[in-house]
């Protein structure tokens, strides 16, 4: 490693011992302060949101979590419909995204030659670079009409006469509601879960795979019976991180979910999530109790994502590697 233009200066030959100590202490102090800022900010999140929601916490107590009321006129608020919507849309996203990313990971790790795997991997990662609001625009103006005209009527025709399942597809096909929200969330989670699963599966020792193949296993059997069990912990961790990413996703969902405080069994009916309620109503909230109830919704979301993140990283860290939920 070259020292650059001036060797003497770069090597930092000390002028005096105390000067060196002071410089080192300052730099060390700055690094410690920046590092300490991270847990301080995390604690601050909980404190600020709890403080901001004190009015609503006092008035509604635990009932806030199970009440489906949401009436700014009478000042009665409950989180049930938002929590329900967050959970259902996230569940749909994972049901779609996890098998899809497993298959893409299979392609990247086992099937594709390196020359193909690299650009494919890059293209999937680009899905994560597209901002949430762009997915929202596409979802509202392109995907929703497409679903309303083609997909939803077909679903109704296929399942409309089967009892129980019929309820999932009741109501007019508008292209707005839980179904498009779940689909878009799946697309947005896909690059993260795929990248994590690919990395986890790449850790499987070649000896194990070769041994299985030597026993006469097909590629799929090696994947299904050796690689997936070996990487199980990491794969579950990837699922948790995908879950926490989907549950807090805001803009794309706000565009397509319909934003109504209602709980409906039908995937075609409009609903809301915690994040979409915040995005939609926060700037309109005029009285303190309304605002406080919205901040409490945020607190609920924070607690949920925090738990999922901690769980996900704990599962992943057992693999003994550092893995981020970011890009």
């Amino acid at each position: 490693m070259p020292f650059g233009r001036s060797k003497r200066a770069s090597m930092g030959l000390p002028l005096s011992k105390t000067g060196v100590r002071r410089g080192d202490a300052l730099f060390h102090g700055a690094a410690v302060a920046a590092a300490a800022l991270v847990p301080v900010l995390m604690a601050g999140l909980f404190v600020e949101l709890a403080y901001g929601s004190r009015l609503s916490l006092e008035k509604f107590g635990f009932g806030f979590l199970v009440s489906a009321a949401w009436n700014p006129v009478t000042g009665n608020y409950g989180a049930a419909s938002s929590i329900y919507g967050s959970l259902v849309s996230t569940a749909m996203a994972l049901i779609i995204a996890i098998p899809l990313s497993l298959f893409i990971a299979l392609f990247l790790v086992e099937l594709a030659p390196p020359r193909l795997a690299r650009p494919v991997s890059g293209a999937i990662e680009l899905l994560a670079a597209i901002p949430s609001i762009i997915y929202g625009m596409w979802g509202l103006f392109v995907l929703a009409p497409f679903l309303a005209d083609h997909v939803e009527p077909a679903l109704q025709a296929a399942f409309g006469h089967i009892p129980v399942i019929r309820a999932l597809f009741a109501g007019p096909p508008m292209g707005i509601g839980m179904l498009p929200a779940g689909l878009i969330l799946a697309l947005m989670v896909l690059p993260f879960t795929t990248a994590l699963m690919r990395d986890v599966l790449q850790l499987v020792p070649p000896v194990l795979k070769e041994a299985a193949a030597g026993m006469g296993s097909t590629t799929w059997e090696v994947f299904r019976k050796v690689m997936i069990p070996y990487g199980r912990r990491g794969l579950i961790g990837a699922g948790f991180l995908g879950l926490s990413r989907a549950i807090g996703e805001t803009m794309a969902v706000t565009f397509v979910i319909g934003n109504s405080h209602s709980i409906s069994a039908s995937l075609l009916a409009s609903g809301n999530t915690i994040a979409s309620t915040l995005a939609n109503e926060f700037t309109e909230a005029s009285d303190p109790l309304y605002l406080s109830a919205l901040i409490e919704l945020g607190l609920v979301l924070l607690v949920m994502t925090f738990l999922f993140q901690v769980a996900g990283h704990l599962w992943l860290s057992r693999l003994g590697r550092k893995t981020g939920g970011g890009q």
Partner: protein, 293 residues
């Protein structure tokens, strides 16, 4: 290595299904993997092509230089929102990058192996997964309520909150890749530790550090949710960041939800501008990383 005839299969090993059936399953699953890849790439192409086609028709010189037009009126642009987005992102970078780099320095150089270092390392990972709308809510409660009005500074703070853990993570990871011999030889020459970090480790890891910063900038410049209740929006040119500040992403949200055709068109134009900006930065980071590798 086939199982001897008559051996019972215990454990994971190959079940005694007929060979053709196993081959068929294998082929089906391989085909499914191919289809999954096509779905992913197909959606990417679909979204990007829609943004390019619809956005391109809204672009013009005045789109970049003028203020928004009233509903139904021709012309107008989003010059104020573009300037605002640049200012807010720059402010966020100034706040978030130094904090993130120093936290990364701690994780890689001072805290590695310590209890506190492990805890911060874990918290950085968790903080990266905090939803962006929560960051907005936090800064709202912290800054907007106390000051009494929305401001571009609050928006920059919310974005900085999102940038910091991303920069810290990549900084720590990239600095950890620098071989210890480099540090040791510089220390042996009598260089103080902070100069070793700044002049040896930073320099060795500079491509990685730059990548982390660019990734963080790309991540936040397309964010909308944290700006909704911090920077808000404004129909005027930003004079400073002290008041509500126009920005592209909240403008897209407002215009897309409006019933006016010319505003919706402007929203598509803004979508194209934001997408191009973010994709350019993302591709740039890939280019930097590849040249290094």
């Amino acid at each position: 290595m086939a199982l001897p005839a008559g051996t019972k299969d215990r454990g994971w090993a190959v079940k005694c299904t007929s060979r053709t059936r196993r081959k068929l399953i294998d082929r089906t699953m391989k085909a499914a993997a191919g289809v999954a890849v096509l779905i992913g790439i197909g959606v990417l192409a679909w979204v990007l092509s829609v943004v390019f086609v619809r956005g391109a028709s809204a672009l013009s010189w005045s789109f970049f230089t003028k203020l928004p037009a009233p509903p139904g009126a021709p012309g107008g642009g989003l010059g104020n929102a573009m300037l605002g987005t640049l200012l807010i992102s720059a402010g966020a970078t100034l706040l978030g990058v130094p904090a993130g780099i120093m936290a990364g320095v701690y994780l890689a150089e001072y805290g590695a192996g310590t209890r506190f270092g492990g805890f911060v390392n874990f918290m950085v990972n968790v903080m990266m997964g905090i939803p962006s709308i929560i960051a907005g809510l936090f800064i709202y409660a912290l800054l907007v309520v106390s000051v009494g009005h929305f401001s571009g500074y609050a928006g920059a703070m919310a974005l900085a909150f999102l940038m910091m853990p991303v920069v810290a993570r990549t900084t720590a990871d990239m600095m950890a890749l620098v071989p210890d011999q480099l540090r040791e030889s510089a220390l042996a020459l009598g260089a103080p530790r902070w100069r070793v970090i700044v002049q040896i480790v930073f320099r060795a890891a500079r491509a990685g550090l730059l990548t982390g910063v660019l990734l963080a900038v790309a991540r936040v410049s397309g964010e909308t949710a944290p700006l909704l209740f911090t920077a808000l929006n404004s129909p005027y040119w930003p004079r400073s960041l002290a008041g509500p500040t126009a920005n592209l992403t909240v403008t897209i949200f407002n215009d897309a939800m409006s019933p006016y055709a010319n505003w919706q068109r402007a929203a598509w134009g803004a979508s194209l501008v934001i997408t191009l900006g973010v994709l350019t930065i993302s591709l740039l980071t890939r280019f930097i990383l590849r040249r290094r590798a």
